[in-house]
């Protein structure tokens, strides 16, 4: 009988070590951002490998908070992310409900066409949408960023997936009791799919908060910048970058999604696992 317990646990320790090293490498860029944001220019260039060079300086954060329209950028980012999250959530819930509750012709085709949008590369949409926004006078306006992002194929997919798990008998019973479809959605389905709604919202929020490309094209004016856009003001590929300040802005950009993730890991990981299993 082959049962080399001690050997196999030694192997396991070895693998844990390998994974630990890999995990360190994955975290290193973040550690690096964190430590650089507390360094002055000399420390940055002389001790770049040392994560905690002494004494730490708050100067970068002072510059960001005092000499830089930080709160305005924070507000812009939050404004767009909240509206996009709520908008996507509303349109996704309604559409997912229609797919679960109703029977109609071309249902599967319509569903595929909606899910497909998740996979269409932004780059082919950018020019026509830019031209449209320019015609609508929405260049340099947060709504120019928001409008095209008010629906989400993956959101519809994930919510439909959970709604399908609700026993049909339950919906049928309420219908026979005279409940309108909208009441059924509001009173019966919504409470049952709360965890999914929660996870999907976080997913929408983080994505919108982090977004760089589309806002960059629409929001030309610095006053309208979001945090990810503001980052580029401090770096230059040619040199002369303000690394400490850039990392302090990067910290502020990273913290909200990171904290959200750390507090809601379980929901997020489960939802993402679903997205792959069936999509």
């Amino acid at each position: 009988m082959h049962n080399p317990e001690p050997a196999s646990s030694l192997w396991e320790k070895g693998w844990i070590l390998v994974m630990g090293l890999a995990a360190f490498l994955m975290l290193y860029p973040l550690l690096f951002m964190f430590s650089t944001s507390f360094k002055d220019m000399n420390q940055i260039f002389q001790a770049s490998l040392n994560p905690f060079s002494w004494p730490p300086t708050m100067a970068n954060y002072e510059v960001v908070l005092e000499k830089f329209p930080f709160y305005q950028y924070l507000g812009n980012t939050l404004y767009i992310a909240v509206i996009v999250t709520l908008g996507k959530l509303a349109t996704s819930l309604l559409a997912a409900f229609a797919f679960v509750y109703y029977e109609f012709r071309g249902k599967e085709k319509l569903f595929s066409a909606m899910l497909l949008t998740f996979f269409i590369p932004t780059t082919v949409l950018v020019m026509p949408n830019y031209l449209l926004m320019s015609k609508m006078g929405l260049l340099n306006n947060p709504w120019g960023v928001i409008l095209p992002e008010l629906a989400d194929g993956m959101g519809i997919f994930l919510l439909r997936q959970t709604m399908r798990g609700i026993p049909r008998a339950l919906l049928e019973a309420s219908r026979l009791d005279g409940a309108t479809p909208f009441t059924i959605l509001r009173r019966i389905i919504l409470p049952l799919v709360k965890p999914s709604i929660f996870a999907t919202s976080i997913f929408f929020f983080i994505n919108s908060w982090n977004e760089y490309f589309w806002p960059l094209l629409i929001l030309a004016d610095r006053d309208n910048y979001t945090l990810p856009l503001a980052l580029q003001m401090f770096i230059s590929a040619e040199g002369g970058s303000e690394w400490g300040i850039a990392m302090a802005v990067a910290m502020f950009t990273t913290l909200p999604p990171l904290i959200l993730y750390l507090f809601t890991q379980k929901f997020i990981l489960n939802t993402f696992m679903q997205s792959g299993m069936k999509g």
Binding site: Y102, M127, A250
Partner: protein, 299 residues
């Protein structure tokens, strides 16, 4: 089945679908048609008139040296992305689900590896720009420790794609890993135990049990690695290299943007967009062919 129109007199499904449909039609499907249309014209976005040029935009692209370079770059990029975001996570998922039994360690690694997925590509680009800094960035210091001189990562043709792809590798690794772990966890335990009783090595178990049992998910991850990986490249490419040096880091996704909003040649941009879509359609077709059938009738 709950509501068929005949029975209830009026199917209101469209009412619930309308908001999403409007967004998708206006901002996703209309642009595709507009790209197709614009690809037959010459226009600089400002002039009031567009000149019909037939297939000349496409002909110019196919005849240009640039096109070969773009395709080559895209090919190299795809290979690198597949290594970082498909092969590596595949191996890691196997190690984390089959070779490490400690549940706490598993959970910890999973959440650490996923962490970079929550971070903005703009932030990732800035961090990596500094990490690759040839004077004092950590990568150059490590190279120095081995007596090597740091290259200028973002300025040298052969290296720039590699440097940029590591940013995407870092960002996209976690999500793909999580999805693959989910698939491997759902492989029936008995199959693996049975193989172990027959003294199969881990490598054999990986090849003969895990790979066949997880192939639909693997195919999904394979496809999104390419589809999303190429898209993600827009951000670091635009922030750090603008496709340079000498188009050395441009690719089929970036070039569409470049022709549109940097060079203002809408016709060529639209033609490139069509070619880019063609590349995507191949992968989407692959995905649909093998996956969607399973998806729709499950549950």
């Amino acid at each position: 089945m709950l509501h068929s129109s005949s029975r209830t007199g009026g199917n209101r499904a469209w009412l619930y679908l309308l908001p999403a449909v409007l967004v998708f039609v206006i901002f996703y499907y209309r642009p595709l048609l507009e790209d197709a249309y614009l690809s037959f014209f010459q226009w600089n976005m400002i002039s009031p008139t567009m000149k019909f040029v037939g297939l000349s935009n496409y002909q110019q692209i196919f005849a240009s040296k640039e096109f070969g370079k773009i395709l080559g770059n895209t090919g190299v990029l795809v290979v690198l992305l597949l290594i970082f975001n498909f092969l590596l996570p595949y191996g890691f998922a196997f190690v984390l689900t089959q070779l490490i039994g400690n549940k706490k360690a598993q959970a910890l690694f999973r959440s650490v590896f996923f962490l970079p997925s929550t971070i903005s590509l703009a932030v990732a680009s800035i961090i990596f720009l500094w990490m690759y800094n040839p004077l004092a960035g950590p990568v150059s210091l490590v190279l120095k420790a081995f007596g090597l001189e740091s290259p200028r990562w973002f300025k040298e043709s052969g290296l720039v794609i590699f440097a940029l792809s590591t940013i995407i590798g870092w960002k996209a690794f976690g999500y793909n890993l999580i999805v693959l772990i989910a698939a491997m966890v759902s492989v029936p335990r008995e199959l693996i135990e049975a193989a172990k009783l027959e003294n199969a090595s881990n490598w054999t178990i990986f090849r003969k049990v895990i790979v066949p049992m997880t192939s639909p998910t693997a195919l999904y991850v394979f496809t999104i690695t390419i589809i999303f990986g190429l898209q993600y490249m827009l951000v670091p490419t635009n922030m750090l290299t603008q496709g340079g040096p000498d188009q050395g880091s441009s690719n089929i996704v970036y070039i569409v943007y470049q022709y549109a909003l940097v060079f203002f040649q809408t016709g060529k941009s639209a033609a490139f967009a069509m070619l880019c879509m063609a590349v995507y359609v191949i992968f989407l077709f692959l995905k649909a062919r093998f996956l969607d059938k399973r998806v729709h009738y499950e549950n």
